[in-house]
């Protein structure tokens, strides 16, 4: 089992997975004493799951094996590498977990197939963020590659997105969230309310930004807008002049010594923050949790200009067929049926079908994570570590408050090549 669910990746990760799987085995002795006819009737199917390590939990693979008998074999790679693999090695995986913003460059390669909504049991209940670009009936920001723009295809093997709902879905959402700045409240000692604070001279030499060009430039654009320097028609799709303006702004800040470092990997951002090298930076939600679990105060600060949203989802390679295709649908249906959703919600992400996740969470957990209410009891991560003491409120509040305040989405610009050149210029400045 350990062998099945963990191949490749760093050794530490493999060890962790292995021990998690062992712990899982010990805990599920009861369940495994039942015969599992479906598993014995035919040879078990293995799905090679390509995605980033962040989304690949050993617990989910174990539970899926238990519930539906499908073996998940993770292929953990970095965000950019996911896209590269889809385009250059489309036969090296059976199930794709990709960010929506990669779709405009993945789809024209013709290496993916649309997912038949009719076979997805909960297709009708997928969060409206994806299907309509709404939260609780309210329109949210759609600058950049908003999922609703790339959610439907014109046909199963079409290379064109459909603005109107069709029966062919590009990606079935796995996780999504709203990103903002992370801060060290103990070192800043005053309220932070705007993206503009990232370049406040008060934090000279103590700020950081991420060195993933397509995301970093949007964070910079949020700052430019917050300072009132320029209002972008679409931060997620800048013109050359707008890219120049944004990178010039960044170069200036860099020359003034504003930034301590740039980061491109989750752990780097955790280290920068935990060590106190940086007190304010663009950050990802689980990284904030990681800093906090070290006993160091860190806030995922809601800002008045709103959040930068991201979302990832399951896609199918074009060549997938037969039993593997059936197994993929089965796994996705299982994924949406609640257990996995609850698991992800407890990690601070949001899940695709909220109603099923709710059924799998304790009412006090739901109230804390999704409704923004003070925790009635201590809040624990899925692995049992204590995340928050009773009484705390989630940064940014409820699902509606956070997802509803999204201003723009991770994206790939039309002028991507130019943007990357300018970004390299900024790094060299």
């Amino acid at each position: 089992m350990t062998k099945n669910i963990s191949t490749g990746g760093m050794s530490r990760r493999t060890v962790l997975k292995g021990s998690a799987a062992l712990a899982g085995l010990a805990g599920t002795g009861f369940a495994s004493s039942f015969p599992a006819p479906a598993v014995h009737a035919q040879e078990a199917v293995t799905l090679r799951y390509l995605g980033t390590a962040v989304n690949q939990s050993a617990d989910i693979a174990r539970k899926a094996k238990e519930d539906i008998g499908v073996t998940i074999e993770y292929i953990p790679v970095e965000t950019d590498e996911v896209a590269k693999r889809v385009i250059t090695q489309p036969n090296s995986f059976d199930l794709l977990d990709s960010e929506y913003f990669s779709l405009p460059k993945l789809l024209p390669s013709g290496n993916l197939q649309g997912m038949d909504a009719g076979k997805i049991k909960y297709a009708g209940q997928i969060a409206t963020v994806f299907t309509k670009g709404e939260v609780e009936g309210k329109k949210i920001g759609d600058q950049g590659t908003a999922p609703k723009k790339v959610f439907y295809l014109e046909g199963q093997f079409s290379k064109k997105f459909s603005a109107e709902p069709t029966e062919w879905i590009t990606l079935i959402p796995t996780t999504y969230n709203a990103d903002t700045l992370g801060i060290r409240p103990d070192l800043i000692k005053r309220p932070i309310e705007s993206w503009a604070e990232l370049v406040n001279p008060e934090f000279k030499g103590k700020a950081a930004i991420l060195n993933i060009p397509s995301i970093g430039i949007m964070d910079a654009a949020m700052v430019v807008e917050a300072l009132g320097k320029y209002k972008y028609p679409d931060k997620g799709n800048m013109t050359k002049e707008e890219i120049d303006l944004t990178t010039d702004f960044l170069k200036e800040a860099k020359k003034a010594g504003q930034f301590r470092a740039f980061w491109s990997d989750f752990n780097e951002s955790v280290n920068l923050m935990a060590s106190g090298e940086v007190v304010i930076q663009s950050m990802w939600s689980p990284a904030v949790t990681a800093v906090r679990s070290k006993g160091i105060p860190c806030t995922y600060q809601p800002l008045k200009e709103g959040y930068r949203g991201w979302a990832s989802g399951f896609g199918l390679p074009k060549t997938l067929e037969g039993r593997k295709l059936d197994a993929a649908y089965e796994f996705i249906n299982w994924f949406l049926s609640g257990w996995a959703g609850a698991y992800l919600n407890r990690q601070g992400y949001y899940s695709a079908v909220l109603s099923t996740a709710k059924e799998n969470m304790e009412p006090y957990e739901w109230a804390y994570w999704m409704e923004g209410k003070p925790a009635e009891k201590d809040i624990h991560a899925p692995d049992g570590t204590l995340l928050e003491k009773a009484g705390t409120v989630r940064d940014g509040g409820s699902y509606e408050d956070r997802m509803g305040a999204i201003a723009c989405w991770n994206s790939v610009m039309d002028e991507n090549t130019y943007m990357i050149r300018k970004w390299n210029e900024f790094i060299a400045a």
């Binding site: 301590r260 491109s264 790939v412 050149r421 790094i427």
Partner: protein, 319 residues
């Protein structure tokens, strides 16, 4: 390893020379003439498959066109034009490419000088001041201990030491030597050079030590007997005879530093540009042709440096 390769390359003609008189019949003479080629074949094949071929592909792709999701065969110089975009127009200001190469060359020079000085000293001590072979081996192994752990870990270990709240700053502020934490210790040119020197000095030590061990001790004695001072012996006997080691060590260090982007990234807080990082970003965004063009330019530059080095020292002859 490089030394072995060079040696075996030299060994081939030597061996045939010895073989020839022994070969009697015409047939065996012909087989004898082919022997060196067969002997060289495995290495040549490995080189062809894993070095020449990928290099050719890189060269070819550097002339191709690309889009967000595909690369298309073509013959265009656009990628090279892009690499040097604005380089002439911006003069006397520097374009990104020139700026990056200048910064990389600067690191190269500082790191080369530092590793050479330290590496030469360590090798000299090991070769001339440590008398017994056992002790030499023990001390030599000591030098390699840091290499028992991964590159990245050796780099990252500097961060808690040099950071704003790191050990050194705590000591400085605690003892009153500095009023506030010294920020230049980390994520700066200094920390990059420090990590490079830490990581790559051994690459200097090994070949120089190897060269020094081959120096006939009688030569050193003769120099002393002829009345040369210690410095004169060092300058006129030891250094000239260590030249091949110095050259090989220099090639190691220079090629590694020129292509590195991980060390510069981690220790420079990703704020310092490197050609490697530019290529890495371009590959990540599937811009293979322009990444290939950058790689070709880098390769040409490194080859030029090595060519210049071998002009100064004929490594093959010296070995």
């Amino acid at each position: 390893m490089l030394r072995d390769a060079a040696l075996s390359a030299e060994a081939i003609p030597g061996e045939t020379a010895r073989d020839r008189p022994r070969a009697g019949a015409m047939a065996s003479r012909r087989a004898g003439a082919l022997a060196p080629y067969w002997q060289a074949a495995p290495m040549a094949l490995v080189f062809l498959l894993f070095f020449v071929l990928p290099l050719l592909v890189t060269l070819i792709v550097s002339f191709w066109n690309y889009t967000e999701y595909s690369i298309e065969p073509a013959f265009t110089l656009d990628n090279y034009r892009e690499v040097f975009d604005g380089c002439l127009a911006d003069l006397p200001g520097l374009c990104t490419t020139f700026k990056t190469y200048l910064s990389t060359l600067k690191f190269c020079l500082i790191v080369w000088a530092s590793t050479l000085l330290i590496g030469f000293t360590v090798a000299y001590f090991l070769a001339f001041h440590v008398r017994t072979m056992t002790m030499q081996i023990v001390l030599f192994l000591l030098c390699t201990i840091p290499f028992w752990t991964s590159n990245v870990i050796r780099m990252i270990s500097w961060i808690p030491l040099l950071g704003r709240n790191g050990l050194i700053n705590q000591a400085l502020v605690g003892t009153g030597l500095a009023g506030s934490p010294q920020e230049w210790l980390l994520y700066s040119d200094f920390s990059v050079v420090l990590a490079f020197v830490h990581l790559y000095t051994l690459f200097m030590v090994v070949p120089i030590f190897n060269s020094m061990m081959r120096i006939d001790r009688a030569l050193v004695e003769a120099a002393y007997d002829s009345g040369a001072s210690g410095w004169q012996t060092l300058w006129n006997v030891v250094i000239p005879l260590s030249k091949p080691g110095i050259a090989i060590g220099s090639i190691f260090v220079i090629t590694i530093v020129m292509g590195d982007f991980v060390t510069i990234g981690v220790m420079g807080g990703q704020q310092i540009a490197s050609i490697g990082k530019i290529i890495n970003v371009q590959v990540n965004y599937l811009q293979f042709p322009i990444a290939a063009a950058n790689a070709v330019v880098l390769l040409v530059l490194v080859l030029l440096i090595i060519w210049a080095l071998t002009r100064m020292i004929d490594i093959r002859k010296e070995l």
